[in-house]
């Protein structure tokens, strides 16, 4: 390909001299918090950008999610049925009340409903980030990408013992340095903008609300 070769040849025309600098990651690697502190830090960081928190135990979180959806008057919740958590959610879901909708087919088959007829979406997470707040997600076949994006409310399950100190640590411990899924994601709060006179507005294109179900 002529452009490619021309560009690379242009870049190789000069051989940069000198020893390359060695980046020192210590300033980030030093950031450590006690396990007990991590959840508190994450909550502070995310609450500051309007994420909301529900606390629950490892057995009762599905009921907590159902109660939240019902209590907020949300008529539907989209979820990934083929995960352990999805099955637990479905098992605890009340027969009457909000619809629990499985995202179990290609988006093309129900795009209209996804965009207009779904009030909330539920996903698991791979963990969180203590330093700044933030949730780590790896959308995939079982929890599609749009699940945490299109519905106006996103409910995310976070286990308090899976909070990393920093994004750097998360990248390393999740093995993302070597291999990443086709889509990986960090989410810190509901969608926002300050483009109109630097005034914050929420729910621009992504979800208007992010509810973190913190399980410990």
């Amino acid at each position: 390909m002529p452009e490619r070769d021309a560009i690379l040849a242009g870049l190789r025309a000069v051989l940069p001299g000198g020893r390359p600098p060695v980046p020192d990651f210590a300033v980030v690697e030093e950031k450590r918090w006690d396990p007990g502190e991590r959840a508190a830090r994450l909550r502070r960081g995310m609450a500051a950008v309007k994420a909301e928190f529900i606390e629950a135990g490892p057995e009762d979180w599905p009921r907590a999610v159902a109660a939240f959806v019902l209590g907020e008057g949300l008529p539907s919740l989209l979820y990934g049925p083929d995960t352990t958590e999805g099955r637990a959610l479905a098992a605890a879901w009340p027969a009457l009340g909000p619809r629990l909708v499985p995202y179990d087919r290609p988006v093309e088959t129900f795009k209209q409903e996804l965009f207009e007829g779904i009030a909330a979406g539920f996903t698991t997470t791979l963990g969180g980030i203590a330093e700044t707040g933030g949730l780590l997600l790896a959308p995939g076949p079982f929890e599609p990408r749009l699940l945490s994006l299109v519905p106006p409310v996103h409910i995310a399950l976070l286990r308090a013992d899976r909070i990393f100190d920093t994004l750097l640590q998360a990248f390393r411990e999740l093995g993302w340095n070597k291999v990443l899924p086709a889509n990986a994601l960090v989410i810190s709060g509901p969608s926002k903008t300050a483009d109109i006179e630097q005034t914050l507005a929420y729910g621009v294109h992504g979800p208007r609300r992010l509810i973190v179900v913190l399980v410990s």
């Binding site: 060695v22 300033v27 990443l180 709060g189 992504g206």
Partner: protein
Amino acid sequence: MAAEPAAPNGLEVDFLASSARALADPQLRRNFRRAMDGLMAKRAAVFPDPSEWTRLRALGGAIRAKNLLKLPDLLERLEKNLTKNGITVHWASTTAQANQVVLELLEARGVKALVKGKSMVSEEMGLNHFLGAHGVESLESDLGEYIIQLDGEMPSHIIMPAIHKNKDQIARTFSEKIRNAKYTEEVDELTAMARAVLRQKFFEAGAGLSGVNFAVADTGTLCLVENEGNGRMSTHVPPLHIALMGLEKVVERLDEVAPLYSLLTRSATGQAISTYLNLISGPRSGGERDGPREVHLVILDNGRSRIFQDPELRATLACIRCGACMNHCPVYTRIGGHAYEAVYPGPIGSILTPQQEGAGLWHELPHASSLCGACAEVCPVGIPIPHLLIRLRREAGHRVPGSTVLGAGSARSRLEDLAWSVWGWVLGHPAAYRLASWCATRCWRLLPSRAPVLEAWTRSRHKPRMAGASLQERLRRSGVPDA
């Protein structure tokens, strides 16, 4: 002086005129002063610890410098791994080629409407205009970009494109340009209007376009940083995703992205973290139920490989497009982005644009600076902007042997050459200086305030007063301390 040079977008480059217009606009000055003060305060609040800042910035600078030294190898590795991940890579030397690549991708798939996430590279390309001329609608989805697109304007800031606009201006634009929109200045209502329009576009568009904040060579990953969600919408909903990237954005490893990302969000808008960090390593893959069927990356050169040739000026390519330099620039604060008449304004624009488009053509930009150094002080990757401004001033007016700068020497001024030669001679000969300073201290009152050069000073200042005798003269008279 040569005839007014024309900028590539057809406008004539006359910075003195455009900056004078901006300076005379009280609303523009108020808007930018308020906005820049706010951004500076936000940034200061998230870098409270000087030691952390120094070390983090050293890390950022080292990562960028190290990666730039390996740039061609990293680009090849990136291409290999992106391809392995199912992402198709295209290379474009010029913006015309890049536009052609995008158009062909769209036409081959019958796409008539494209939805755009934010991409400064697409502004370099003039992509919207190009696609429009070929019958393809290219709609901005970033709220700030959407606003200025409705008004047919260029961005005035690389992070906050509509920063020059008031609420009432935006309210008027929306009520005039959006179908069935009422007039409101409520930010939430304006945002909801834009959301509704763009949600429909995300739904319908045949393709989505994005920029790339960082591309990771080792894993074949495109990293996108955003707050609104329009980037994820543009890259996950339509069946085709096209990403545009300047060739300098590649980093070697994913863990290098972590500190760069932290530096970016904090430097740009004073956020510890953005709403979304979107890491794309492939199209819809292996059983996924959504995501684009195809992902393409266009790698654009547009003068970058030439900038790369100069070991000092190469630092220009370390830029991570945070905008902190312009937020802290006393010149940018007073004139805003449009006055630069370039895609990239402010300090980074003043070093990038001359190198991309011609040092002579754009010689006014490197001079639009008092060299105060506020930009370099906040640059998260340590670009020595004032020094590069001086380099480009030199390149504009001189043919330096071995120079690789585009348009070097093409803004040479014989008059200025003469002035500095005289200056150099007088100040290079102490006896001449002594004579000249004796004359000056005796005769300065005779020099009229309207004299050339002095006139520019006395327009707004009292004529400077020389002493009756120079310090050297006094010391010589009273006996110079023995050496």
